[in-house]
């Protein structure tokens, strides 16, 4: 939510200021932003506009706003799917969040995973992007190769990594043995469960890389030329030119990757929780997996909805902190608003 405000204000200018922006229609003189409030809307046009955005309005009312209210109601009640009845309202589901040990276990697992995965993803993706950017000709070829894992369905990734990561005969440990390292039991040792999911996440990091690559392309060449005349080496240039100039992309990726990491489901589910009959190490119990189990295996919808709101609150707080912190270090070309 917090992010949307600067986003909207930032976007208004290119949209309406563009040649033939929406305000050009009735009176071109009215184009400057401040005076727009006084504009009288053309009735026919306004009605047509509402009809065009109608599908979204309906979808929003049902599947976003309606769903949120629905979720709030069932989380605050003793709703049962079987009877489809609510007999009383209480905060029991929210109280249970703190008494059910698995909630905190899965939450700390998830936070731990995010803290490990996000910086690694950023560093790896940025590293690859820098290499590709440096290469110039031929970069397109590698970009295509690096992007392939991103196209792979998570179920295929999981099926392959399930075997690659096998502690006894998996290819990864065989490879490590070649250079004299005794590989860990990736999939059964509680300490290595999360690193193995991080590894799979890193394999599909190319989406982030593409965003970095696009940002790097926009850094003006002459900044590097001028600074090298001033005697700045590559390391200095990286920290004083590259990082500030792409800070927007770093910030965006960090935000998106953090939100994704806090909701990670597919890999953990496929590797550890798909099979209900076999036991999985508790350190692989991610928040989204536990939420799924509570809702669609145990049918504790009220409790699962409360879990979802807790996750929402945590994501909102983390995002807010990141936006606060980010605004301090993100460099906006031409200033911010």
């Amino acid at each position: 939510m917090a992010l949307s405000d600067p986003a909207v204000t930032g976007r208004r200018d290119p949209g309406d200021g563009a040649p033939g922006g929406p305000s050009a229609r009735t009176a071109p003189a009215l184009r400057p932003e401040p005076r727009r409030r006084k504009v009288k809307y053309n009735r026919r046009e306004a009605i047509a506009g509402f009809l065009f955005i109608g599908p979204w309005v309906i979808g929003f009312l049902v599947f976003t706003l309606g769903a949120m209210i629905y979720s709030l109601v069932i989380s605050l009640s003793d709703y049962q799917l079987a009877t489809d009845l609510i007999t009383r309202f209480s905060f029991d589901n929210y109280a249970r969040l703190f008494s059910e040990p698995k909630v905190m276990v899965s939450l700390s697992n998830t936070l731990f995973f995010a803290v490990m995965a996000v910086p690694l993803e950023i560093a790896f993706a940025l590293g690859l992007a820098l290499l590709l950017n440096r290469l110039g000709r031929g970069a397109g070829f590698f970009r295509v190769l690096y992007y392939l894992p991103k196209m792979t369905p998570s179920v295929a990734t999981a099926a392959v990594f399930l075997l690659l990561l096998n502690g006894n005969f998996g290819a990864i440990n065989r490879g490590l043995a070649l250079i004299g390292i005794q590989g860990p039991q990736w999939l059964t040792d509680p300490a290595w469960v999360k690193p193995s999911i991080v590894l799979m996440t890193l394999w599909t990091v190319s989406g982030t890389m593409i965003i970095f690559l696009a940002a790097l392309k926009n850094v003006p060449r002459d900044l590097y030329e001028v600074s090298s005349l001033d005697g700045a080496g590559p390391v200095r240039q990286f920290f004083h030119i590259t990082v500030p100039m792409i800070s927007g992309a770093i910030f965006f990726n960090m935000l998106v990757l953090t939100i994704a990491a806090l909701q990670v489901f597919d890999q953990a589910f496929l590797l550890f929780w798909r099979d209900q009959t076999s036991a999985a190490p508790e350190s692989s119990l991610f928040y989204a997996v536990y939420l799924f189990q509570q809702a669609f295996r145990q049918f504790n919808f009220g409790f699962a909805a409360a879990m979802a709101w807790l996750l929402f609150a945590i994501i909102a707080v983390i995002t807010l902190i990141q936006v606060r912190f980010g605004n301090r270090f993100v460099y906006y070309e031409g200033g911010r608003d």
């Binding site: 033939g20 929406p22 305000s23 955005i53 979204w56 049902v62 976003t64 295929a156 001028v226 589910f269």
Partner: protein, 314 residues
């Protein structure tokens, strides 16, 4: 920016650098630099090829495992000792892969087609028309992008349950009738780039608003339509969680490919009394990946463009 670089501490080094250039006249340095940059390029290529191999290894491994007999799936040879192309015939008998593929394809086409049309209609509404609260509503569209999927997961399930669509594929594409925030944003950006004179001229000619969208804006926006379509097609084809929630009961025939493979992984597992026929899982995993690789081969440019737009959003 240059001000930040020219910090006082950089002073001496700047001087010595200019001095040395002046002394050598710049010329003798040139060949050395050439050698160095060739060496740098070589190292760059080696590193990039190394990463490429690391990224591709699982694909090669998958292909080779899919051609091995049951006992050798784990042997990590990239060239199978015993070649069993018959796996590719057997998989259709062991698993209802054909109906899974049909289901996945139908759902992905519906999901992608519907969201492309609905999002572009809504985007045109936001881009072209002036109406009260337009900017506030568009802000709301952007705000919904920040809402974690987990929050609406359960109520959405309950809504589809109330409507009686559980066990059907409707929940996997139904919500796409109403547009999707990121795609609305993306297509609005595209529409805003179209010259407004086009629409004014059509208006003078008496074209209706719908015709302005359908016969002027839409044909000019094919590239952004393709971006939205292939992004959603991929998302739908790869989706695991939604089929798990809405289709994971009743007939196995109704599964999508990802759900089916997840099911097969469990069924074939020795802990469930299976034979450990992982070579068939590998065939299925390869077959579910292949359409995405083909899609990427044809739509590469659009994927890259779409992602770059996503970055610009921030």
């Amino acid at each position: 920016m240059t001000a930040t670089i020219g910090t006082p501490s950089a002073g001496p080094s700047v001087q010595s650098q200019t001095l040395s250039v002046a002394e050598t006249g710049g010329r003798p340095r040139a060949p050395r630099r050439g050698v160095r940059s060739t060496a740098v390029r070589l190292i760059l290529w080696v590193v990039l090829v190394g990463f490429a191999l690391a990224f591709l290894y699982p694909f090669v491994w998958l292909l080779s495992a899919s051609l091995k007999p049951r006992g050798e799936v784990f042997d990590n040879r990239l060239i199978p000792q015993t070649l069993v192309p018959g796996n590719y015939a057997e998989v259709w008998e062991q698993l209802p892969l054909l109906s899974w593929m049909g289901n996945s394809l139908l759902i992905a086409l519906l999901a992608a087609g519907l969201v492309t049309v609905s999002s572009s209609i809504v985007a045109f509404g936001f881009a072209y028309f002036r109406f009260p609260f337009r900017n506030a509503l568009f802000g709301l569209v952007l705000a919904t992008m920040m809402l974690p999927g987990a929050v609406t997961l359960i109520p959405t399930y309950l809504i589809w349950n109330q409507l009686g669509f559980l066990g059907t594929s409707v929940p996997l594409w139904g919500a796409n009738l109403f547009g999707s925030a990121f795609y609305i944003f993306l297509q609005r950006q595209f529409f805003l780039g179209l010259p407004r004179e086009l629409f004014e001229a059509a208006r003078v000619d008496g074209a209706s608003y719908w015709r302005m969208f359908w016969q002027i804006a839409a044909p000019l926006s094919i590239p952004s339509f393709i971006i939205v379509f292939i992004f959603e097609f991929q998302a739908s084809w790869n989706n695991l969680q939604a089929p798990l929630i809405y289709l994971n009961f009743g007939s196995v025939e109704n599964f999508t490919v990802p759900l089916g493979i997840s099911y097969a992984m469990t069924q074939f597992s020795p802990t469930n009394g299976g034979q450990g026929d992982y070579q068939l899982v590998m065939v299925a995993a390869l077959l579910v990946t292949l359409p995405m690789l083909i899609l990427f081969a044809f739509g590469q440019r659009y994927f890259i463009d779409g992602l770059a737009t996503q970055g610009r959003k921030g």
